[in-house]
């Protein structure tokens, strides 16, 4: 299985900035960067449907790839505002018609109250990369994530690589420079993701308490 052109381009961009770095090490740090990226931005989201029954508050669910990391919200499917095809970010905790629930372990949904009747719930989760690693040396993740955020992932990986000790490409200044760039791009992306990539949809990044459009 070969990498997509976007992944190849990302790796080439990283390689030319790191003389003496081996591909194995670069792939390891790309994994670490992706993990940090998904955790902070909640860029990779999925809505799963659960058949809930009266008398049961705990439900296990599986996702086709990645690891469920954060529960973004749960809502009944029959709620007109939410179904499996809606953007996952439309399900927000605390919004109208939302179901109180937690996810104490990845893939384990605990409802605060037992359902009154059998029905279908939609649970929106953010995913993160996990094992197994493919033969390409990278985990499973959506290609669009690299295409859309390749610059940020490059900066993050360069920062991590340059921070390693006693390598030809070790550079504390470089690590700091690329680290600042990465965090800046990560925060911008996080804001874009929260607003569903709608231009001008949300101009406030801080403080969130005055953000009345969020829910």
């Amino acid at each position: 299985m070969a990498n997509s052109p976007a992944v190849d381009r990302l790796l080439d961009n990283i390689r030319i900035n790191l003389p003496g770095a081996t591909d194995n090490t670069i792939l390891l740090e790309v994994f670490n960067t992706l993990k940090d990226w998904c955790k902070w931005t909640k860029n990779w989201q999925l809505t799963v449907e659960l058949e809930v029954q009266p008398g049961c508050r705990v439900y296990m669910f599986a996702v086709p790839a990645g690891k469920p990391e954060f529960l973004l919200g749960v809502a009944p499917k029959k709620d007109g505002a939410v179904d499996g095809t809606d953007p996952p970010s439309q399900i927000s905790p605390g919004g109208p018609g939302r179901v109180a629930a937690t996810m104490p372990e990845p893939g384990k949904l605990v409802l605060q109250y037992e359902p009154n009747e059998p029905q279908t719930y939609c649970a929106s989760v953010s995913l993160n990369v996990t094992d197994p690693i493919l033969r390409t040396g990278l985990p499973v993740f959506p290609d669009w994530l690299i295409e859309q955020h390749d610059e940020a992932l490059k900066e993050g990986t360069l920062s991590r690589m340059m921070f390693q000790a006693s390598k030809p490409y070790t550079s504390l200044q470089g690590a700091q420079y690329h680290g600042v760039n990465y965090r800046k791009l990560r925060n911008e992306a996080r804001n874009s993701i929260n607003t569903g990539y709608v231009y001008g949809g949300q101009r406030w990044m801080f403080p969130q308490t005055v953000n009345r459009r969020r829910y």
Binding site: N24, K167, T170
Partner: protein, 118 residues
């Protein structure tokens, strides 16, 4: 094309002016020095031997099969491994050897592994 143990032995013999069997620096000795190189690399550049973190380090021998084996390191660091083997050969207490030359090879080995390019 990936460099094999046999390639390395040939190149070491050329650089040591040791082209006529019976060799002064036997292939069995070179195989031992090659194994030592990986232990030294583990110390200064563990990322290069990441494949051996959960297994034994590679061992080499001068059999036909052993000489056909590919040296399990990124090819851009092949010359560093060769430098280490050369330094160990030159370190032997033979009358034709030079300590300074041995040290030079050792320094080249370390420089190639750790020195910033720019």
């Amino acid at each position: 094309m990936a460099k094999t143990v046999g390639n390395l032995m040939d190149e070491v013999h050329v650089l040591l002016q040791d082209l006529i069997p019976e060799y002064r620096y036997s292939e069995a000795d070179i195989a031992i020095y090659l194994g030592d190189a990986f232990l030294e690399i583990r110390r200064v550049r563990p990322d290069l031997v990441r494949a051996f973190f959960r297994t034994d380090y590679p061992s080499f021998d001068a059999t036909t099969t052993g000489k056909a084996a590919v040296i399990p390191i990124d090819q851009m660091y092949y010359t560093a491994v060769r430098d280490y083997v050369l330094s160990m050969c030159q370190l032997r207490d033979d009358e034709n050897n030079q300590d300074a030359r041995s040290m030079a090879f050792k320094q080249m080995f370390l420089a190639k592994l750790t020195t910033a390019v720019a």
